[in-house]
Amino acid sequence: MAEHTAATTQAEIAAARRSLADRDGFLAWLFLAPAVVYVVALVAVPFFVAIAFAFSDVTSGDASYDWAGLSNFRQIFGDPVFWRSLGNTFVFTLVSMLLIVVLGKVLANILVADFRGKWIVRFLVLLPWTTPVALSSVAWLWLLDSIYSPIDWVLRAVGLLEGNTYWLGKPGLAMLSVIAVHVWRLVPLAAVIMMVGLLSIPKDVEEAAKVDGAGFWRRMFEVTIPLTLPLVAVAALFGAIFTFTDMAVVYILTRGGPTNSTQVLASWSYIRGIGGGDIGQGAAIALFLFPLLLAAAILILRAVRRTETL
Protein backbone atom coordinates (compact mmCIF):
# COMPACT_ATOMS: atom_id res chain seq x y z
CA MET A 1 0.00 0.00 0.00
CA ALA A 2 2.64 2.39 1.15
CA GLU A 3 4.85 1.20 -1.70
CA HIS A 4 2.05 1.71 -4.16
CA THR A 5 1.50 5.34 -3.11
CA ALA A 6 5.20 6.02 -3.31
CA ALA A 7 5.22 4.65 -6.87
CA THR A 8 2.29 6.78 -7.99
CA THR A 9 3.61 9.95 -6.46
CA GLN A 10 6.91 9.26 -8.15
CA ALA A 11 5.15 8.71 -11.46
CA GLU A 12 3.10 11.83 -10.88
CA ILE A 13 6.19 13.84 -10.11
CA ALA A 14 7.83 12.49 -13.25
CA ALA A 15 4.77 13.35 -15.33
CA ALA A 16 4.53 16.80 -13.80
CA ARG A 17 8.21 17.31 -14.46
CA ARG A 18 7.77 16.22 -18.05
CA SER A 19 4.83 18.55 -18.59
CA LEU A 20 6.83 21.36 -17.03
CA ALA A 21 9.68 20.53 -19.37
CA ASP A 22 7.24 20.50 -22.26
CA ARG A 23 5.91 23.84 -21.17
CA ASP A 24 9.45 25.11 -20.97
CA GLY A 25 10.08 23.89 -24.47
CA PHE A 26 6.99 25.68 -25.69
CA LEU A 27 7.92 28.78 -23.74
CA ALA A 28 11.45 28.75 -25.12
CA TRP A 29 10.02 28.95 -28.63
CA LEU A 30 7.37 31.46 -27.67
CA PHE A 31 10.05 33.77 -26.27
CA LEU A 32 12.33 33.30 -29.22
CA ALA A 33 9.77 33.39 -32.02
CA PRO A 34 9.22 37.18 -32.38
CA ALA A 35 12.94 37.87 -32.65
CA VAL A 36 13.46 34.99 -35.07
CA VAL A 37 10.53 36.03 -37.25
CA TYR A 38 11.82 39.61 -37.36
CA VAL A 39 15.39 38.58 -38.23
CA VAL A 40 14.26 36.09 -40.87
CA ALA A 41 11.93 38.65 -42.48
CA LEU A 42 14.31 41.61 -42.44
CA VAL A 43 17.79 40.08 -42.55
CA ALA A 44 17.68 36.55 -43.97
CA VAL A 45 15.09 37.15 -46.71
CA PRO A 46 16.63 40.47 -47.84
CA PHE A 47 20.02 38.78 -47.88
CA PHE A 48 18.80 36.15 -50.37
CA VAL A 49 16.87 38.79 -52.30
CA ALA A 50 20.15 40.73 -52.58
CA ILE A 51 21.79 37.66 -54.07
CA ALA A 52 18.84 37.24 -56.45
CA PHE A 53 19.11 40.94 -57.46
CA ALA A 54 22.70 40.34 -58.50
CA PHE A 55 21.41 38.03 -61.24
CA SER A 56 18.61 40.33 -62.38
CA ASP A 57 18.01 43.51 -64.34
CA VAL A 58 16.12 45.30 -61.54
CA THR A 59 16.54 49.06 -61.60
CA SER A 60 14.96 51.72 -59.42
CA GLY A 61 12.81 52.73 -62.43
CA ASP A 62 11.76 49.23 -63.46
CA ALA A 63 11.39 47.03 -60.39
CA SER A 64 10.04 43.97 -62.24
CA TYR A 65 12.30 40.97 -61.73
CA ASP A 66 13.83 39.50 -64.87
CA TRP A 67 16.56 36.91 -64.82
CA ALA A 68 19.68 38.41 -66.36
CA GLY A 69 22.13 35.59 -65.72
CA LEU A 70 25.69 36.73 -65.33
CA SER A 71 25.36 39.94 -67.32
CA ASN A 72 25.73 42.13 -64.21
CA PHE A 73 28.94 40.34 -63.34
CA ARG A 74 30.22 40.66 -66.90
CA GLN A 75 29.54 44.38 -66.73
CA ILE A 76 31.19 44.99 -63.37
CA PHE A 77 34.21 42.85 -64.31
CA GLY A 78 34.60 44.93 -67.47
CA ASP A 79 34.69 48.11 -65.42
CA PRO A 80 38.15 49.08 -64.14
CA VAL A 81 36.52 51.00 -61.25
CA PHE A 82 35.31 47.71 -59.80
CA TRP A 83 38.83 46.25 -59.70
CA ARG A 84 40.09 49.50 -58.26
CA SER A 85 37.43 49.33 -55.51
CA LEU A 86 38.21 45.71 -54.76
CA GLY A 87 41.93 46.47 -54.43
CA ASN A 88 41.28 49.59 -52.34
CA THR A 89 38.96 47.68 -50.04
CA PHE A 90 41.75 45.20 -49.33
CA VAL A 91 44.41 47.85 -48.84
CA PHE A 92 42.19 49.92 -46.54
CA THR A 93 41.16 46.91 -44.51
CA LEU A 94 44.61 45.36 -44.07
CA VAL A 95 46.47 48.58 -43.32
CA SER A 96 43.85 49.90 -40.93
CA MET A 97 43.52 46.52 -39.20
CA LEU A 98 47.25 46.43 -38.51
CA LEU A 99 47.32 49.98 -37.18
CA ILE A 100 44.13 49.49 -35.18
CA VAL A 101 45.57 46.46 -33.40
CA VAL A 102 48.92 48.06 -32.56
CA LEU A 103 47.47 51.41 -31.46
CA GLY A 104 44.53 49.73 -29.74
CA LYS A 105 46.94 47.65 -27.69
CA VAL A 106 48.88 50.75 -26.67
CA LEU A 107 45.69 52.60 -25.81
CA ALA A 108 44.32 49.66 -23.82
CA ASN A 109 47.50 49.60 -21.74
CA ILE A 110 47.11 53.32 -21.05
CA LEU A 111 43.44 52.97 -20.12
CA VAL A 112 44.01 50.20 -17.58
CA ALA A 113 46.85 52.08 -15.88
CA ASP A 114 46.07 53.93 -12.66
CA PHE A 115 46.21 57.69 -12.82
CA ARG A 116 44.23 60.72 -11.76
CA GLY A 117 41.71 62.13 -14.22
CA LYS A 118 41.11 58.71 -15.73
CA TRP A 119 37.44 59.48 -16.27
CA ILE A 120 38.08 62.52 -18.45
CA VAL A 121 40.77 60.70 -20.44
CA ARG A 122 38.38 57.79 -21.08
CA PHE A 123 35.69 60.21 -22.15
CA LEU A 124 38.01 61.99 -24.59
CA VAL A 125 39.43 58.74 -25.94
CA LEU A 126 35.98 57.26 -26.56
CA LEU A 127 34.71 60.31 -28.47
CA PRO A 128 35.87 59.15 -31.93
CA TRP A 129 34.03 55.87 -31.58
CA THR A 130 30.76 57.05 -30.00
CA THR A 131 30.29 60.02 -32.33
CA PRO A 132 28.21 59.25 -35.42
CA VAL A 133 30.78 58.60 -38.11
CA ALA A 134 29.09 60.98 -40.55
CA LEU A 135 29.64 63.89 -38.17
CA SER A 136 33.22 63.15 -37.22
CA SER A 137 34.02 62.70 -40.89
CA VAL A 138 32.72 66.22 -41.48
CA ALA A 139 35.13 67.48 -38.81
CA TRP A 140 37.93 65.70 -40.65
CA LEU A 141 36.77 67.16 -43.95
CA TRP A 142 37.65 70.54 -42.49
CA LEU A 143 40.91 69.33 -40.95
CA LEU A 144 41.93 68.15 -44.43
CA ASP A 145 40.55 71.17 -46.30
CA SER A 146 42.48 72.15 -49.40
CA ILE A 147 43.09 75.76 -48.29
CA TYR A 148 42.37 76.10 -44.57
CA SER A 149 43.67 72.77 -43.29
CA PRO A 150 45.23 73.37 -39.86
CA ILE A 151 47.55 70.45 -40.49
CA ASP A 152 48.95 72.39 -43.44
CA TRP A 153 49.13 75.52 -41.28
CA VAL A 154 51.30 73.70 -38.73
CA LEU A 155 53.51 72.27 -41.45
CA ARG A 156 53.88 75.76 -42.94
CA ALA A 157 54.59 77.25 -39.51
CA VAL A 158 57.48 74.86 -38.89
CA GLY A 159 58.69 75.43 -42.44
CA LEU A 160 58.07 71.94 -43.83
CA LEU A 161 55.58 73.06 -46.42
CA GLU A 162 55.07 75.73 -49.04
CA GLY A 163 51.48 76.33 -50.07
CA ASN A 164 49.03 73.47 -49.47
CA THR A 165 49.07 69.69 -49.31
CA TYR A 166 45.63 68.99 -50.88
CA TRP A 167 45.10 65.98 -48.63
CA LEU A 168 41.97 64.81 -50.39
CA GLY A 169 42.99 65.94 -53.85
CA LYS A 170 45.87 63.58 -54.60
CA PRO A 171 45.27 59.82 -54.89
CA GLY A 172 47.98 58.67 -52.46
CA LEU A 173 47.24 61.31 -49.86
CA ALA A 174 43.50 60.74 -50.15
CA MET A 175 43.99 57.04 -49.39
CA LEU A 176 46.21 57.93 -46.46
CA SER A 177 43.56 60.33 -45.15
CA VAL A 178 40.75 57.79 -45.42
CA ILE A 179 42.84 55.17 -43.63
CA ALA A 180 43.80 57.66 -40.92
CA VAL A 181 40.15 58.50 -40.23
CA HIS A 182 39.19 54.80 -40.08
CA VAL A 183 42.02 54.07 -37.68
CA TRP A 184 41.26 57.11 -35.54
CA ARG A 185 37.61 56.06 -35.30
CA LEU A 186 38.12 52.36 -34.53
CA VAL A 187 41.14 52.37 -32.21
CA PRO A 188 38.96 53.17 -29.16
CA LEU A 189 36.72 50.17 -29.90
CA ALA A 190 39.75 47.90 -30.26
CA ALA A 191 41.19 49.32 -27.05
CA VAL A 192 37.98 48.63 -25.14
CA ILE A 193 37.88 45.03 -26.41
CA MET A 194 41.53 44.52 -25.45
CA MET A 195 40.94 46.12 -22.05
CA VAL A 196 38.48 43.30 -21.42
CA GLY A 197 41.35 40.90 -22.06
CA LEU A 198 43.80 42.78 -19.85
CA LEU A 199 41.31 42.97 -16.99
CA SER A 200 40.58 39.26 -17.23
CA ILE A 201 44.17 38.19 -16.59
CA PRO A 202 44.32 36.82 -13.05
CA LYS A 203 46.29 39.22 -10.83
CA ASP A 204 48.49 36.43 -9.41
CA VAL A 205 49.85 35.51 -12.85
CA GLU A 206 51.02 39.06 -13.39
CA GLU A 207 52.41 39.26 -9.84
CA ALA A 208 54.17 35.92 -10.10
CA ALA A 209 55.94 37.14 -13.23
CA LYS A 210 56.85 40.37 -11.42
CA VAL A 211 58.26 38.49 -8.44
CA ASP A 212 60.27 36.32 -10.80
CA GLY A 213 61.90 39.51 -12.01
CA ALA A 214 60.23 39.95 -15.38
CA GLY A 215 60.25 43.63 -16.45
CA PHE A 216 57.43 45.54 -18.10
CA TRP A 217 58.28 44.54 -21.69
CA ARG A 218 59.04 40.95 -20.83
CA ARG A 219 55.72 40.66 -18.98
CA MET A 220 53.96 42.29 -21.91
CA PHE A 221 55.35 39.93 -24.54
CA GLU A 222 55.53 36.72 -22.55
CA VAL A 223 52.49 36.99 -20.28
CA THR A 224 49.97 39.63 -21.33
CA ILE A 225 49.99 39.26 -25.09
CA PRO A 226 49.83 35.44 -25.20
CA LEU A 227 47.06 35.39 -22.60
CA THR A 228 44.97 38.05 -24.35
CA LEU A 229 45.64 36.88 -27.89
CA PRO A 230 42.06 35.69 -28.53
CA LEU A 231 40.64 39.09 -27.64
CA VAL A 232 43.32 40.83 -29.68
CA ALA A 233 42.11 38.69 -32.58
CA VAL A 234 38.50 39.68 -31.88
CA ALA A 235 39.49 43.36 -31.86
CA ALA A 236 41.42 42.93 -35.12
CA LEU A 237 38.52 41.23 -36.87
CA PHE A 238 35.94 43.74 -35.65
CA GLY A 239 38.23 46.50 -36.90
CA ALA A 240 38.49 44.70 -40.23
CA ILE A 241 34.73 44.21 -40.58
CA PHE A 242 33.90 47.80 -39.73
CA THR A 243 36.50 49.14 -42.16
CA PHE A 244 35.58 46.61 -44.81
CA THR A 245 31.87 47.33 -44.90
CA ASP A 246 31.90 51.04 -44.13
CA MET A 247 31.21 53.62 -46.79
CA ALA A 248 30.41 56.70 -44.70
CA VAL A 249 34.04 57.85 -44.34
CA VAL A 250 34.79 57.47 -48.06
CA TYR A 251 31.42 58.90 -49.09
CA ILE A 252 31.79 62.06 -47.00
CA LEU A 253 35.52 62.68 -47.40
CA THR A 254 36.04 61.95 -51.08
CA ARG A 255 32.95 60.36 -52.72
CA GLY A 256 35.48 57.80 -53.90
CA GLY A 257 37.61 60.43 -55.64
CA PRO A 258 39.93 61.75 -56.90
CA THR A 259 39.25 59.63 -60.03
CA ASN A 260 38.02 56.66 -57.97
CA SER A 261 41.35 56.30 -56.17
CA THR A 262 39.60 55.85 -52.81
CA GLN A 263 36.55 53.99 -54.11
CA VAL A 264 35.70 50.89 -52.05
CA LEU A 265 33.21 48.09 -52.70
CA ALA A 266 30.61 49.47 -50.29
CA SER A 267 30.68 53.00 -51.72
CA TRP A 268 30.85 51.79 -55.34
CA SER A 269 27.88 49.51 -54.75
CA TYR A 270 25.98 52.48 -53.29
CA ILE A 271 26.89 54.77 -56.16
CA ARG A 272 25.85 52.19 -58.79
CA GLY A 273 22.80 50.84 -56.94
CA ILE A 274 21.21 53.95 -55.43
CA GLY A 275 22.97 56.81 -57.22
CA GLY A 276 22.87 55.18 -60.67
CA GLY A 277 19.64 53.30 -59.96
CA ASP A 278 21.08 50.02 -61.27
CA ILE A 279 20.11 47.80 -58.36
CA GLY A 280 21.22 44.58 -60.07
CA GLN A 281 24.77 45.86 -60.54
CA GLY A 282 24.93 47.37 -57.08
CA ALA A 283 23.89 44.05 -55.57
CA ALA A 284 26.45 42.16 -57.66
CA ILE A 285 29.22 44.48 -56.37
CA ALA A 286 28.12 44.19 -52.74
CA LEU A 287 28.11 40.40 -53.05
CA PHE A 288 31.90 40.47 -53.12
CA LEU A 289 31.87 41.59 -49.49
CA PHE A 290 30.30 38.35 -48.41
CA PRO A 291 33.04 35.67 -48.67
CA LEU A 292 35.43 37.84 -46.68
CA LEU A 293 32.82 38.60 -44.05
CA LEU A 294 32.13 34.91 -43.64
CA ALA A 295 35.83 34.20 -43.20
CA ALA A 296 36.13 36.99 -40.63
CA ALA A 297 33.05 35.74 -38.77
CA ILE A 298 34.41 32.22 -38.51
CA LEU A 299 37.77 33.49 -37.31
CA ILE A 300 36.12 35.68 -34.64
CA LEU A 301 34.08 32.76 -33.43
CA ARG A 302 37.15 30.56 -33.12
CA ALA A 303 38.97 33.30 -31.24
CA VAL A 304 35.99 33.73 -28.90
CA ARG A 305 35.90 29.99 -28.29
CA ARG A 306 39.52 30.12 -27.27
CA THR A 307 38.79 32.75 -24.61
CA GLU A 308 36.92 30.03 -22.76
CA THR A 309 40.25 28.46 -21.92
CA LEU A 310 41.50 31.74 -20.46
Binding site: L30, A50, L126, W153, F290, V304
Partner: protein, 301 residues
Protein backbone atom coordinates in the same frame (compact mmCIF):
# COMPACT_ATOMS: atom_id res chain seq x y z
CA UNK B 1 83.85 43.38 15.17
CA UNK B 2 84.40 46.24 12.73
CA UNK B 3 84.80 43.63 9.99
CA UNK B 4 81.42 42.26 10.88
CA UNK B 5 79.86 45.70 11.04
CA UNK B 6 81.05 47.06 7.73
CA UNK B 7 78.92 44.78 5.52
CA UNK B 8 75.84 45.87 7.46
CA UNK B 9 76.74 49.54 6.97
CA UNK B 10 77.35 48.86 3.32
CA UNK B 11 74.04 47.14 3.10
CA UNK B 12 72.30 50.13 4.62
CA UNK B 13 73.97 52.40 2.07
CA UNK B 14 73.09 49.96 -0.67
CA UNK B 15 69.48 49.82 0.46
CA UNK B 16 69.30 53.59 0.50
CA UNK B 17 70.72 53.75 -3.01
CA UNK B 18 68.28 51.13 -4.22
CA UNK B 19 65.39 52.93 -2.56
CA UNK B 20 66.36 56.15 -4.33
CA UNK B 21 66.76 54.22 -7.58
CA UNK B 22 63.32 52.68 -7.35
CA UNK B 23 61.72 55.95 -6.30
CA UNK B 24 63.25 57.62 -9.35
CA UNK B 25 62.05 54.79 -11.54
CA UNK B 26 58.60 55.06 -10.03
CA UNK B 27 58.48 58.81 -10.67
CA UNK B 28 59.64 58.27 -14.25
CA UNK B 29 56.97 55.61 -14.76
CA UNK B 30 54.31 57.98 -13.43
CA UNK B 31 55.47 60.72 -15.77
CA UNK B 32 55.38 58.19 -18.61
CA UNK B 33 51.81 57.13 -17.81
CA UNK B 34 50.56 60.72 -17.60
CA UNK B 35 52.33 61.73 -20.82
CA UNK B 36 50.89 58.73 -22.65
CA UNK B 37 47.40 59.47 -21.32
CA UNK B 38 47.55 63.11 -22.36
CA UNK B 39 48.91 62.27 -25.82
CA UNK B 40 46.20 59.61 -26.33
CA UNK B 41 43.49 62.03 -25.21
CA UNK B 42 44.77 64.77 -27.50
CA UNK B 43 45.06 62.51 -30.54
CA UNK B 44 41.55 61.15 -30.02
CA UNK B 45 39.76 64.31 -29.02
CA UNK B 46 41.93 66.80 -30.92
CA UNK B 47 39.55 67.05 -33.87
CA UNK B 48 36.68 67.71 -31.44
CA UNK B 49 38.51 70.33 -29.39
CA UNK B 50 39.36 72.02 -32.57
CA UNK B 51 35.79 71.70 -33.85
CA UNK B 52 34.71 73.54 -30.72
CA UNK B 53 37.11 76.41 -31.44
CA UNK B 54 36.10 76.57 -35.10
CA UNK B 55 32.39 76.60 -34.27
CA UNK B 56 32.70 79.93 -32.50
CA UNK B 57 34.95 81.74 -34.96
CA UNK B 58 34.07 84.74 -37.08
CA UNK B 59 34.11 84.19 -40.83
CA UNK B 60 36.88 86.74 -41.25
CA UNK B 61 38.98 84.86 -38.72
CA UNK B 62 38.23 81.41 -40.13
CA UNK B 63 38.67 82.11 -43.81
CA UNK B 64 42.17 83.51 -43.67
CA UNK B 65 44.82 80.87 -44.34
CA UNK B 66 47.41 83.04 -42.54
CA UNK B 67 45.52 83.01 -39.23
CA UNK B 68 46.55 80.59 -36.52
CA UNK B 69 43.72 78.03 -36.64
CA UNK B 70 44.13 77.05 -32.98
CA UNK B 71 43.39 80.40 -31.37
CA UNK B 72 40.85 83.19 -31.73
CA UNK B 73 42.43 85.87 -33.90
CA UNK B 74 39.23 87.88 -33.64
CA UNK B 75 36.83 87.72 -30.69
CA UNK B 76 34.69 84.54 -30.63
CA UNK B 77 31.07 84.63 -31.72
CA UNK B 78 28.05 82.49 -30.93
CA UNK B 79 26.24 83.52 -34.13
CA UNK B 80 26.95 80.32 -36.03
CA UNK B 81 25.83 78.15 -33.14
CA UNK B 82 22.65 80.18 -32.82
CA UNK B 83 22.21 79.85 -36.60
CA UNK B 84 22.46 76.07 -36.30
CA UNK B 85 19.67 75.89 -33.77
CA UNK B 86 17.35 78.56 -35.17
CA UNK B 87 17.81 78.77 -38.93
CA UNK B 88 18.73 75.25 -40.00
CA UNK B 89 16.87 71.97 -39.74
CA UNK B 90 19.29 70.67 -37.13
CA UNK B 91 16.64 70.63 -34.34
CA UNK B 92 14.39 68.57 -36.65
CA UNK B 93 17.23 66.13 -37.37
CA UNK B 94 18.05 65.83 -33.69
CA UNK B 95 14.41 65.26 -32.79
CA UNK B 96 14.05 62.64 -35.54
CA UNK B 97 17.19 60.84 -34.31
CA UNK B 98 15.85 60.90 -30.77
CA UNK B 99 12.42 59.45 -31.41
CA UNK B 100 13.67 56.93 -33.95
CA UNK B 101 16.32 55.85 -31.44
CA UNK B 102 13.79 55.59 -28.61
CA UNK B 103 11.34 53.50 -30.65
CA UNK B 104 14.09 51.26 -32.02
CA UNK B 105 15.46 50.66 -28.53
CA UNK B 106 11.94 49.78 -27.31
CA UNK B 107 11.39 47.32 -30.19
CA UNK B 108 14.84 45.85 -29.58
CA UNK B 109 14.09 45.19 -25.92
CA UNK B 110 10.61 43.78 -26.56
CA UNK B 111 12.03 41.30 -29.07
CA UNK B 112 15.48 40.79 -27.59
CA UNK B 113 14.79 40.30 -23.87
CA UNK B 114 12.56 37.21 -24.21
CA UNK B 115 14.86 35.81 -26.91
CA UNK B 116 17.92 36.24 -24.71
CA UNK B 117 16.10 34.72 -21.76
CA UNK B 118 15.03 31.75 -23.84
CA UNK B 119 18.59 31.12 -25.03
CA UNK B 120 20.37 31.78 -21.74
CA UNK B 121 17.98 30.26 -19.24
CA UNK B 122 15.71 27.62 -20.72
CA UNK B 123 18.09 24.84 -21.60
CA UNK B 124 17.30 23.48 -25.01
CA UNK B 125 19.59 21.54 -27.30
CA UNK B 126 19.52 24.39 -29.80
CA UNK B 127 20.42 27.14 -27.32
CA UNK B 128 24.11 27.08 -28.15
CA UNK B 129 23.78 27.08 -31.96
CA UNK B 130 21.10 29.78 -31.68
CA UNK B 131 23.52 32.02 -29.76
CA UNK B 132 26.09 31.56 -32.51
CA UNK B 133 23.45 32.23 -35.20
CA UNK B 134 22.63 35.54 -33.51
CA UNK B 135 26.30 36.45 -33.55
CA UNK B 136 26.48 35.76 -37.29
CA UNK B 137 23.44 37.95 -37.95
CA UNK B 138 25.29 40.79 -36.24
CA UNK B 139 28.07 40.43 -38.80
CA UNK B 140 25.81 40.86 -41.85
CA UNK B 141 26.42 44.53 -42.62
CA UNK B 142 24.03 47.15 -43.97
CA UNK B 143 26.19 47.43 -47.09
CA UNK B 144 25.00 43.93 -48.10
CA UNK B 145 21.33 44.53 -47.33
CA UNK B 146 20.58 48.15 -48.20
CA UNK B 147 19.58 47.49 -51.81
CA UNK B 148 16.98 44.80 -51.11
CA UNK B 149 15.77 46.63 -48.00
CA UNK B 150 15.33 49.84 -49.99
CA UNK B 151 13.10 47.92 -52.43
CA UNK B 152 11.15 46.56 -49.46
CA UNK B 153 10.76 50.04 -48.00
CA UNK B 154 9.44 51.29 -51.35
CA UNK B 155 6.94 48.44 -51.53
CA UNK B 156 5.70 49.14 -48.01
CA UNK B 157 5.17 52.78 -48.96
CA UNK B 158 7.64 53.92 -46.29
CA UNK B 159 10.09 55.51 -48.70
CA UNK B 160 11.12 59.03 -47.68
CA UNK B 161 9.62 58.51 -44.24
CA UNK B 162 11.52 58.37 -40.97
CA UNK B 163 9.32 55.41 -40.04
CA UNK B 164 11.28 53.26 -42.49
CA UNK B 165 14.22 53.55 -40.09
CA UNK B 166 12.07 52.49 -37.14
CA UNK B 167 11.24 49.33 -39.07
CA UNK B 168 14.77 48.56 -40.30
CA UNK B 169 17.14 49.70 -37.52
CA UNK B 170 16.34 46.81 -35.16
CA UNK B 171 18.12 44.59 -37.72
CA UNK B 172 21.30 46.29 -36.48
CA UNK B 173 20.50 46.58 -32.78
CA UNK B 174 18.61 43.33 -32.12
CA UNK B 175 21.41 40.79 -32.67
CA UNK B 176 24.08 42.63 -30.67
CA UNK B 177 21.65 43.54 -27.88
CA UNK B 178 20.47 39.96 -27.57
CA UNK B 179 24.09 38.83 -27.45
CA UNK B 180 24.81 41.30 -24.63
CA UNK B 181 21.66 40.37 -22.71
CA UNK B 182 22.59 36.67 -22.91
CA UNK B 183 25.89 37.61 -21.26
CA UNK B 184 24.19 39.56 -18.47
CA UNK B 185 21.62 36.80 -17.90
CA UNK B 186 24.29 34.14 -17.59
CA UNK B 187 25.88 36.16 -14.79
CA UNK B 188 22.67 35.98 -12.72
CA UNK B 189 22.36 32.86 -10.55
CA UNK B 190 19.73 30.43 -11.82
CA UNK B 191 18.01 29.85 -8.49
CA UNK B 192 16.51 33.36 -8.61
CA UNK B 193 13.60 32.41 -10.80
CA UNK B 194 13.60 28.79 -9.64
CA UNK B 195 12.94 30.13 -6.14
CA UNK B 196 10.16 32.36 -7.47
CA UNK B 197 8.69 29.42 -9.39
CA UNK B 198 8.72 27.30 -6.25
CA UNK B 199 6.89 30.16 -4.59
CA UNK B 200 4.14 29.73 -7.13
CA UNK B 201 4.99 32.09 -9.96
CA UNK B 202 4.83 30.84 -13.52
CA UNK B 203 8.01 31.10 -15.53
CA UNK B 204 6.78 34.24 -17.23
CA UNK B 205 5.79 35.70 -13.87
CA UNK B 206 9.18 34.82 -12.43
CA UNK B 207 10.89 36.36 -15.45
CA UNK B 208 8.98 39.63 -15.17
CA UNK B 209 9.11 39.93 -11.38
CA UNK B 210 12.56 38.66 -10.48
CA UNK B 211 14.82 38.47 -13.51
CA UNK B 212 13.98 41.76 -15.21
CA UNK B 213 14.54 43.93 -12.10
CA UNK B 214 17.89 42.27 -11.38
CA UNK B 215 18.87 42.64 -15.01
CA UNK B 216 18.03 46.35 -15.04
CA UNK B 217 21.61 47.69 -15.01
CA UNK B 218 22.44 45.43 -17.96
CA UNK B 219 19.29 46.54 -19.76
CA UNK B 220 20.28 50.18 -19.30
CA UNK B 221 23.71 49.45 -20.80
CA UNK B 222 22.04 47.76 -23.77
CA UNK B 223 19.72 50.76 -24.21
CA UNK B 224 22.72 53.11 -24.37
CA UNK B 225 24.59 50.89 -26.79
CA UNK B 226 21.62 50.31 -29.09
CA UNK B 227 20.80 54.02 -29.14
CA UNK B 228 24.39 54.87 -30.10
CA UNK B 229 24.20 52.38 -32.96
CA UNK B 230 21.01 53.91 -34.35
CA UNK B 231 22.39 57.45 -34.06
CA UNK B 232 25.53 56.51 -36.01
CA UNK B 233 23.87 54.56 -38.81
CA UNK B 234 24.47 56.13 -42.21
CA UNK B 235 23.77 53.93 -45.25
CA UNK B 236 20.11 53.11 -44.60
CA UNK B 237 19.28 56.68 -43.65
CA UNK B 238 20.99 57.92 -46.82
CA UNK B 239 19.39 55.32 -49.09
CA UNK B 240 15.82 55.47 -47.79
CA UNK B 241 15.16 59.15 -47.12
CA UNK B 242 15.60 62.30 -49.17
CA UNK B 243 13.16 64.97 -47.89
CA UNK B 244 14.90 67.32 -45.46
CA UNK B 245 12.22 67.21 -42.78
CA UNK B 246 12.45 63.42 -42.49
CA UNK B 247 16.23 63.15 -42.16
CA UNK B 248 18.15 62.16 -39.05
CA UNK B 249 21.31 63.75 -37.65
CA UNK B 250 23.83 61.45 -39.32
CA UNK B 251 22.55 62.18 -42.84
CA UNK B 252 20.90 65.55 -42.32
CA UNK B 253 23.99 67.39 -41.10
CA UNK B 254 26.40 66.39 -43.89
CA UNK B 255 23.82 66.73 -46.68
CA UNK B 256 21.85 69.81 -45.65
CA UNK B 257 24.60 71.96 -44.12
CA UNK B 258 26.75 71.47 -47.19
CA UNK B 259 25.02 72.94 -50.24
CA UNK B 260 27.04 72.25 -53.32
CA UNK B 261 30.31 74.01 -52.62
CA UNK B 262 28.94 76.12 -49.78
CA UNK B 263 29.91 74.69 -46.43
CA UNK B 264 28.42 76.11 -43.27
CA UNK B 265 31.64 75.24 -41.50
CA UNK B 266 31.11 76.72 -38.07
CA UNK B 267 27.58 75.38 -37.85
CA UNK B 268 28.76 71.96 -39.04
CA UNK B 269 31.38 71.87 -36.30
CA UNK B 270 28.84 73.02 -33.72
CA UNK B 271 26.53 70.19 -34.81
CA UNK B 272 29.39 67.74 -34.42
CA UNK B 273 30.04 68.85 -30.84
CA UNK B 274 26.35 69.08 -29.95
CA UNK B 275 25.87 65.43 -30.91
CA UNK B 276 29.23 63.96 -29.90
CA UNK B 277 29.50 65.19 -26.33
CA UNK B 278 26.17 64.00 -24.88
CA UNK B 279 26.47 60.55 -26.49
CA UNK B 280 30.05 60.06 -25.26
CA UNK B 281 29.14 61.25 -21.75
CA UNK B 282 26.28 58.79 -21.38
CA UNK B 283 28.29 56.03 -23.00
CA UNK B 284 31.17 56.60 -20.63
CA UNK B 285 28.85 56.16 -17.64
CA UNK B 286 28.01 52.64 -18.78
CA UNK B 287 31.35 51.60 -20.20
CA UNK B 288 32.32 49.29 -17.35
CA UNK B 289 28.97 47.54 -17.53
CA UNK B 290 29.21 47.10 -21.29
CA UNK B 291 32.66 45.60 -20.95
CA UNK B 292 31.27 43.18 -18.39
CA UNK B 293 28.43 42.25 -20.74
CA UNK B 294 30.76 41.57 -23.64
CA UNK B 295 33.07 39.38 -21.59
CA UNK B 296 30.27 37.38 -20.08
CA UNK B 297 28.70 36.87 -23.50
CA UNK B 298 32.04 35.91 -24.97
CA UNK B 299 33.46 33.78 -22.20
CA UNK B 300 30.39 31.88 -21.19
CA UNK B 301 28.49 31.90 -24.49
Amino acid sequence: MPEAQSPAVLEAGEADRLRRHYRRRHVLARIGVYTAAVVAALLSAGPFLWSAITASKLNADLYDPENNPFIYNSPPTLDHIAYLFTSTNFPTFAWNSLWVGALVVAITLVLGLPAAYSIARIDRPWSGPMGIAIFFVYLIPPSLLFLSLSRLVVQLGLQDSTWSLVLIYPTITLPVSTWLLIGFLKALPKDIEEQAMVDGYSRIGAFVRTVVPLLLPGIVAVVVFAFTLTASEFIYALAFISPTAEKVVSTGVPTELIRGDVFFWQSLQAANIAVAVPIALVFNLFLARLIAGFTMGAVKG
